[in-house]
């Protein structure tokens, strides 16, 4: 099917959301709480667009593109004055929530907000409660962290506020966080995150570490991989394959020698 975005027609597929099309066609719409790896959430509201359709009798609506399924001949406008004002207000509010987060400051400035009009949160961290970390943790199958509480006091938390027993130190939450507010520390062969310590698997040959023992064990169990799968790091594996492949090769000079 085809949908119209800002006047031009684009291909769209059944079951997609409007944001999927926007991303594929590289049309810039901010969306802090959306990521392809997880289901859309609709928390930040920045991806809102104006939609209409020739069959709707002139009715227009504002919807979050991350959650609105495409329909044939849908007409989408990504930047109207109202929507721009809305994004400005949302960023204004987010800046009050996280006044020190550089990513929010940068995005807010793009929409003309340098200082928030509201009272900034005291002792603020950089968490915008987009829920990406908890959703990706669920996607990984660990469910170690979750969103706790309701309303303004909502936060990303762990069971009973203690170090989460199901965390494997995979860093998916760290990597997906749009404001980089989840902190971790790798010191030697130990990774510290969420008040827990994990053993990083050292390469049996060169000692380089890539992932934690807990994460490796889960992958071996869940994906049916052999026990020694993670024993070597990628550099050493490359060396190995090079050497192995070289054994199969008949070298040029040998051939020349033979020829000669």
């Amino acid at each position: 099917m085809k949908i119209q975005i800002n006047g031009r027609w684009y291909k769209a597929f059944e079951g997609e959301m409007v944001l999927d099309v926007l991303r594929r066609e590289k049309i810039d719409v901010p969306a802090l709480c959306a990521h392809e790896a997880v289901e859309p959430f609709g928390s930040c509201r920045l991806c809102m667009v104006e939609i209409t359709h020739e069959n709707w009798g002139g009715w227009k609506g504002n919807v979050t593109s991350c959650l609105y399924p495409v329909e044939d001949k849908l007409r989408v406008t990504t930047h109207t004055p109202k929507i721009n004002e809305l994004r400005k207000m949302i960023l204004n509010l987010l800046l009050a929530r996280c006044p020190n987060a550089p990513e929010i400051q940068k995005l807010a400035e793009e929409y003309g907000v340098t200082i928030t009009d509201f009272v900034p949160r005291p002792d603020a961290d950089d968490c915008i409660l987009c829920g990406l970390c908890t959703r990706v943790c669920a996607e990984m199958g660990f469910y170690a962290i979750s969103i706790v509480g309701r309303g303004y006091g909502r936060e990303v938390g762990t069971p009973l506020n203690e170090a989460p027993p199901d965390c494997t130190g995979c860093l998916a939450c760290v990597n997906i966080c749009p404001t980089h507010c989840i902190k971790y520390e790798d010191v030697g062969n130990v990774r510290k995150i969420w008040d827990r310590e994990f053993e990083l698997v050292p390469c049996k040959r060169c000692g380089k570490t890539i992932i934690t023992r807990e994460f490796a064990d889960r992958l071996i169990k869940d994906k049916n991989l052999p026990e020694d799968y993670f024993d070597l790091c990628d550099d050493c594996k490359r060396d190995d394959i090079a050497k192995n492949m070289s054994k199969l090769v008949i070298w040029q000079d040998k051939k020349e020698e033979v020829k000669r």
Binding site: F41, G42, S43, C44, R45, M48, N62, V63, T64, L67, Y68, P69, K82, E85, L86, M89, I90, L93, L94, A96, R97, D117, F118, V119, I128, L129, G131, G149, R150, G151, Y152, G153, R154
Partner: protein, 617 residues
């Protein structure tokens, strides 16, 4: 006793009616929420005690019936002598002996227990003659105050389950939907969506399983209509749900009751148990092919779970957070199956619509809002209580005729409808018709039926602040406009009440409100700014008084008022002791003085002064 055919039901009904006719008098003791709070249990216990003692021939404890909310909660505990309708108010256990002696045995009416009309000062003997009751049309509340909710025979005698018989034996599901559509029944939970259309859309969805859910989450502060129906007439709800399930093709239905209503859950469980035992619920209802199980699901104490998508998540065992409803719940609802969600009151209307016909229902009310609506009329009126009125009645009739006017000689200021999502309407709207569309146009909404009347001692800015605080506490916090926006809006409202706000702040509040409405994910956020928007629309001068003059016209906002003693003071020393901070000083027979530096504006002195000597400025 298993009712496995419609004929058996008719025979049972005839037996129940015969039993009722045999009783000479029925003494109704109202066990509605208001009367429970004012002590009806002790009154009932006294009846039990005395009747056991006296061992009268015609009257035993069986003649005393505990019913649901009779209506006039302000004057409870209520005792009504049927069939005459003699209406006793503010009954205490000490009065019971006289009621039995004088009224039951000797047929005399006890004057001092009768209702006194505030306009004429005359005592009225029968409740049918009181304006409060005269002007009502009770359909959803038809059985409240007349049947014992725990006794299925009472419900059968009142015509219960006859609508189910009609539906299962003579109507197809499409015909049921047609009848409901003709009636024009719109959702009574606040959305006002045409019920027939909702049922039709759900039925059309091609899926293995359809669900029916009854929304008993009633979260609006001050609303107790659904509570009264669930507690006082649970079978009506069940009957409505059975009819809906038949129309839509559901095998399982759920009633979601908020955590704070344990009594409602109790009555619902009993009703379900009794209905199942008689074959009126469960497998092969009344011997037909249709089977339905109704389950009760408890809430966890969250207003946001009254929102349909959050409710369905809660029933499924997840955290109650709403979702974007671009795909409606009738298509993908509970466990992603097509689901009809309707309010308690909506279901309570359905059996009557089937029995008396959609045209009959349509003939009541007005064309665009048919039928009646239950309201919990509370606040500064003489007669607070539970009422049901035809759509199209004016606010003036409700507040001044049914409600009996404003209490204590004060003046009407505003009426708040629709709970925290609604708005306040001023005097100029008193002759406005009460219906879905008129109220919305005026900047408020029907909501689930809460109606709070306010007088000149109310500060509208404070009212806005109160409702915003409620919404901030109850917001699930998922999306930014609602979570952050309402929080900031509330902070600014507090600033206004403290006299610290500027006119720029007011402009910011208006702008912020506009975008909370556009950007929010669910109804809670979208209608969240309404308390502010409606009060600033009609009472802007009050906001400006707080901002420019640093004054509170309603005399409520503590930072902006002062308590002062005027020259009516007789020097009686009565106010000195109650003051918690010892701010009042004075000698006998000399005018007292309040030290403003210490005064906390608690109002204790104001409450106790008999001479009108304290002014709130």
């Amino acid at each position: 006793m298993k009712i496995d055919s419609p004929q058996k039901l008719k025979e049972w009904r005839d037996r129940c009616l015969k039993k009722k006719a045999a009783a000479k008098n029925t003494i109704v003791v109202c066990f509605g929420p208001g009367c429970l709070a004012s002590g009806c249990r002790e009154v009932y216990a006294k009846f039990a005690e005395i009747l056991e003692e006296r061992k009268l021939k015609d009257i035993t404890l069986k003649s005393v019936k505990k019913t649901g909310c009779h209506g006039l909660c302000e004057k409870g505990p209520l005792v009504v002598i049927e069939p005459e309708g003699i209406f006793y108010t503010r009954v205490k256990p000490a009065h019971v002996k006289d009621i039995i002696e004088n009224t039951i045995i000797n047929g005399e009416v006890i004057d001092k227990l009768l209702y006194k009309d505030p306009k004429t000062d005359k005592r009225i003997e029968k409740y049918h003659d009181i304006d409060f009751y005269k002007k009502q049309t009770r359909i959803a509340l038809r059985n409240l105050g007349h049947i014992d909710p725990d006794d299925i025979e009472d419900y059968i005698a009142a015509g219960g389950y006859s609508a189910v018989v009609k539906v299962l034996t003579s109507l197809t599901p499409e015909e049921v939907i047609e009848e409901v559509s003709i009636s024009g029944l719109r959702g009574r939970g606040g959305g006002g969506f045409p019920a027939g259309k909702k049922w039709a859309t759900c039925r059309k969805v091609d899926a293995d399983t359809h669900y029916v859910i009854c929304n008993g989450d009633e979260g609006d502060p001050g609303a107790f209509m659904d509570r009264s129906i669930m507690e006082g007439d649970p079978h009506a709800v069940l009957e409505g749900m059975i009819i809906c399930a038949y129309a839509v093709g559901a095998r399982d239905a759920y009633i979601y009751v908020r955590e704070e209503y344990p009594l409602a859950v109790q009555h619902l469980y009993k009703a379900i148990e009794d209905a199942m035992e008689c074959g009126l619920l469960g497998e092969n209802i009344m011997g037909t092919d249709f089977s339905l199980d109704i389950h009760v699901s408890r809430g966890g104490g969250a207003f946001v779970c009254g929102e349909s998508s959050a409710l369905m998540k809660s029933v499924a065992g997840d955290v109650g957070e709403p979702r974007a409803k671009y795909i409606h719940s009738v298509v993908k609802g509970l466990w992603d199956q097509p689901t009809v969600l309707n309010n308690v009151e909506t279901f309570a209307n359905v059996p009557e619509i089937i029995n008396k016909g959609g045209e009959w229902f349509k003939s009541i009310g007005i064309e665009t809002s048919t039928g009646t609506k239950a309201f919990s009329l509370v606040g500064k009126v003489e007669n607070t209580g539970l009422i049901e009125v035809p759509m199209g009645i004016t606010l003036r009739e409700i507040i001044f005729d049914i409600g009996g006017g404003i209490k204590d000689g004060h003046k009407f200021k505003a009426v708040q409808t629709g709970g925290p999502s609604g708005g306040c309407l001023p005097e100029t709207y008193l002759d406005e018709s009460v219906d879905f569309d008129s109220l919305t146009k005026a900047g408020s909404m029907m909501g689930s039926g809460g109606m709070i009347v306010m007088d000149d001692r109310t500060c509208m800015v404070d009212v806005a602040r109160y409702f915003l605080k409620f919404l901030v506490d109850e917001s699930c916090g998922k999306d930014v406009p609602c979570r952050e926006g309402l929080y900031q809006l509330h902070s600014l409202a507090v600033k206004v009440t403290e006299g610290k706000a500027t006119e720029d702040d007011l402009a910011l509040m208006e702008k912020l409100s506009e975008f909370i409405v556009i950007g929010s994910l669910c109804g809670l956020g979208k209608s969240g700014p309404n308390p502010f928007l409606s009060t600033v629309r009609y009472f802007r001068d009050e906001y400006l008084a707080h901002i420019r003059d640093k004054k509170c016209p309603g005399g409520v906002c503590r930072e902006l008022i002062t308590y002062e003693i005027n020259d009516k003071c007789t020097g009686c020393l009565a106010c000195i002791k109650p003051c918690p901070v010892d701010a009042i000083s004075g000698e006998k027979k000399k005018i007292h003085v309040i030290d403003q530096a210490l005064c906390t504006k608690c109002g204790a002195c104001y409450a106790i002064c008999q001479f009108d000597a304290i002014d709130i400025k």
